[in-house]
């Protein structure tokens, strides 16, 4: 196994910290359009610890990419603006307070980002060597010759064979998987503390997907780097994440360790997601879906954004009409609801609340945040910024000296 002694101490000290590396507190981002202000990100809170992989999951349009871009302040300012909140990064304070010049020294150096489309994310008229060296000379201030050496090393680290020759090649001469590796090499060439990966494998074949994710995990272990992984694929989350945040319609609706999320989802949206994943061996004739559609940001529903599609409110409403018990027999009924099934006033109070009050993210179970009124003890649970210093059980991998060529 390749030993990297220079990192070891850093990893140790970082992981021993109790402070998160990145803490997003109540971030809200808006876009000014002809039709008014849209808010694709509303009061989003989460944290990332050193050496941790945090996955941010959600359907298209839920605001996860905008959140990620906002961390590096890459949202174009004329239509977009930050409406509130903080993004605290270790050693830099609130990133939103930094000047543009200071922010530029964060980008690529402390926090790096890779994007979804490797085919178009590299400039076609420059060699990949030039593009990596550009980042290196900018942040590390070394001579061009040394920068090329560092670039070659980075290419080697990401498993590209014959890196010396590759430096002189152009992006169009490489496949998608290779280009994504180059992107990773470029992002990691300045040894960032946090890597934001916005759907890095969505545009790639499934087999390449696995390789890229494996590569990311390997690099993370070697460097003690944190990864904020944006994805919509639950399988990717299950394989790679330590901690998961689920986003729906501009908010984080659930935040927990990956094991806890999969075993005991608390939010009805997460429940719905898991139910809709087809399972091998099941005899179902119809796939389960979450009824309805993701709401248009111009016309978000009042109250909880999910309530029109939520089986919990639906059950309440149905029961009202037919006089049946709210939940099917055998369901684990939260205490308040069970108590409320008898009197009509309290059944309605649950439904009205979902339709008028937007639930904030609360720690409903130890180390498990959720944002749903119809949860046991929801009102009493503390609202806080989710912080989970958790890393999954790692099966030690034997990495041989050979490299992978795509």
């Amino acid at each position: 196994m390749r030993s990297i002694p220079s990192f070891a101490k850093e990893i140790e000290t970082r992981m021993a910290q109790k402070q998160p590396l990145l803490e997003i507190k109540n971030l809200s981002v808006g876009f000014d359009t002809n039709r008014g202000l849209i808010r694709p990100v509303r009061e989003v809170s989460l944290s990332v610890y050193p050496g941790q992989t945090v996955a941010l999951v959600g359907e298209s349009g839920c605001g996860k990419s905008v959140t990620a871009l906002s961390i590096l302040r890459l949202i174009p300012q004329p239509p977009g603006r930050v409406l509130g909140g903080q993004i605290n990064f270790e050693g830099r304070g609130n990133l939103l307070d930094l000047s543009e010049k200071e922010m530029r020294s964060v980008r690529g150096k402390d926090i790096a980002m890779i994007f979804q489309e490797p085919m178009t994310s590299l400039n076609p008229v420059y060699t990949i060597g030039d593009q990596i060296v550009e980042a290196v000379t900018l942040h590390q201030g070394v001579s061009t010759r040394k920068a090329y050496e560092i670039a070659e090393e980075s290419l080697n680290d990401v498993g590209i064979s014959d890196p010396h020759r590759r430096l002189r090649e152009y992006p169009h001469q490489m496949s998608g998987g290779m280009r994504q590796r180059v992107m990773i090499a470029m992002a990691l060439s300045c040894k960032p503390k946090l890597l934001i990966a916005d759907e890095p494998t969505t545009a790639l074949d499934v087999t390449i997907q696995a390789q890229i994710l494996e590569l990311l995990r390997k690099l993370q272990r070697e460097r003690g780097m944190s990864i904020l992984l944006i994805t919509h694929d639950l399988g990717v989350v299950a394989e790679n994440a330590d901690v998961v945040g689920v986003m729906y319609a501009s908010r984080v609706v659930e935040f927990a360790t990956v094991e806890d999320l999969f075993d005991h989802p608390q939010h009805p949206y997460t429940e719905g997601l898991f139910k809709s994943v087809p399972k091998l061996g099941s005899r179902a004739e119809r796939l389960e879906t979450i009824p309805g559609m993701v709401p248009n940001p111009m016309r978000f529903p009042a109250g909880c954004k999910f309530h029109p599609r939520c089986h919990r409110t639906r059950a309440c409403a149905v029961a009202v009409e037919s006089g049946q018990a709210i939940f099917p027999a055998g369901t684990n009924i939260p205490k308040e609801i069970a108590a409320a099934t008898d009197s009509e006033g309290q059944r309605f109070s649950v439904l009205k609340k979902c339709a008028t009050d937007e639930p904030t993210l609360r720690e409903v179970k130890p180390q498990h945040w959720s944002a749903c009124h119809v949860t046991e003890n929801f009102e009493q649970s503390p609202a806080s910024v989710p912080q989970l210093d958790h890393r999954r059980e790692v099966v030690p991998m034997i990495v041989d000296e050979g490299t992978i060529t795509v």
């Binding site: 359009t33 002809n34 309805g292 016309r299 009409e321």
Partner: protein, 406 residues
């Protein structure tokens, strides 16, 4: 059901049935015209063009040596009306139709155009048969007769000089400076510059329209044929287009017009039209190629509709407005070409033309005659500018990238 029950189910129904799409926008074409007219610059351009059209149509009444009415020996007569040419009369009839249609407003745009064309065609024969102005005209006669008392009373046009009135009774009035009598002075032949200016607007506008129409028709036909019967026909057509594009248009124009003996206005229109068609042909061909590949066209073919109908119906709907943008610019360039040819002396013979006037400004012996140099050039500039402004506004209105994003 109690009121609250009804309320709750209503809320749920409303939330679930919420359309995620904004209300349907106007059809693309109407929106484009609306946007174009909204542009201030386009409106200024159109205003100038309407004024020019007014001058063009009513030129024989605005600037004419023939008095409107005159009393000779106690009898009234109207030389202005007597000397109207068939072209003048047809133009007046067409304008009257346009005015009527504009007030009545029942017909769609295309149908109105068709009606105007029909009226002109139907009226052409009788007009050409019945309207016969005297061939030999002596312009100075009126002034002589007025002075000698033969004419008791006469009401003249605001500019009492025809463009062909070379002031034979006042031979020293060549190249006269602007004065009360001749608002813009006279040219080398003695003709009144202002009158020339007004009458030349006819040439400009008519050549612009008709030449461009001819080139559009040729281009559309060639392009459609190429796009429909692909293969050898397409190859041949592309050759033809390349050949025509290899010769600079002005060279071709010069070469053709130079060798034609009788250069009347219809010949000029035909020549300019016959050299400008390549752009439209390319565009149509590209449209056809794109349409062929569209899924729904293939589906229609699979359902049994003949290809011909699909292609033509779709093409007419979609390609019309983008072609309109090109035609606007095409009219501007046709006007420019005509004026260049007239300037060089190989354009129209014996007709008022802005280009020819500019040439006089140089050849006036004194080297530079101010009052002949500025007005016609300004007229060409303003007209071309107006067309370009309208064309630009139309193009901006149609460009999908510039559309305001929702």
């Amino acid at each position: 059901m109690s009121i609250e029950q009804a309320e709750s189910s209503q809320m749920l129904a409303a939330a679930a049935a919420e359309p995620a799409m904004p209300p349907p926008a106007r059809s693309l074409i109407r929106q484009a015209y609306h946007d174009t007219l909204a542009s201030v610059l386009a409106r200024i351009g159109l205003a100038w063009l309407f004024m020019l059209a007014f001058f063009a149509v009513f030129a024989p009444f605005l600037a004419d040596s023939h008095p409107y009415v005159m009393k000779v020996n106690g009898r009234w007569s109207s030389p202005a009306l007597i000397h109207l040419t068939p072209a003048d009369v047809l133009l007046l009839i067409a304008t009257a139709t346009v005015v009527v249609l504009a007030i009545w407003r029942r017909l769609s745009f295309l149908r109105s155009l068709g009606l105007i064309a029909a009226v002109v065609v139907v009226a052409a024969a009788p007009v050409y048969l019945l309207v016969r102005p005297p061939v030999n005209v002596d312009y100075s006669q009126y002034r002589d007769d007025l002075a000698s008392g033969k004419i008791q009373k006469a009401i003249f046009a605001p500019v009492p000089y025809s463009p062909r009135d070379r002031l034979r009774d006042q031979p020293e009035a060549r190249l006269e400076k602007p004065s009360r009598r001749h608002w813009l002075g006279t040219d080398t032949n003695g003709a009144d510059v202002f009158s020339l200016l007004l009458h030349a607007s006819r040439i400009a506008l008519s050549i612009g329209f008709i030449a461009t129409s001819i080139s559009v028709v040729i281009g559309v036909l060639v392009g459609a044929v190429m796009g429909y019967y692909v293969g050898t026909v397409d190859l041949l057509g592309m050759r033809a287009i390349e050949i025509f594009e290899a010769i600079p248009q002005l060279f071709l124009l010069i070469t053709i017009t130079a060798l034609i003996q009788d250069r009347n206005i219809y010949v000029m229109m035909a020549v300019i039209g016959a050299t400008s068609w390549t752009g439209y042909a390319r565009f149509l061909r590209a449209e056809f190629f794109t349409i062929r590949k569209l899924d729904y066209v293939q589906a229609a073919v699979a359902a049994g509709l003949p290809t011909r109908i699909i292609l033509f119906r779709h093409m007419l709907a979609n390609a019309l407005t983008p072609i309109l943008v090109s035609t606007t610019f095409g009219v501007a360039s046709a006007i420019l070409y005509e004026s260049i040819l007239s300037f060089l002396g190989i354009g129209l013979v014996d007709e008022a033309s802005w280009g020819a006037m500019l040439q006089q400004a140089r050849a006036g012996g004194a080297g530079f005659v101010l009052w002949i140099a500025i007005p016609p050039g300004a007229a060409i500039f303003l007209t071309v500018f107006a067309y370009n402004l309208v064309g630009e506004a139309l193009r901006d209105a149609l460009d999908p990238k510039l559309r305001k994003r929702d």
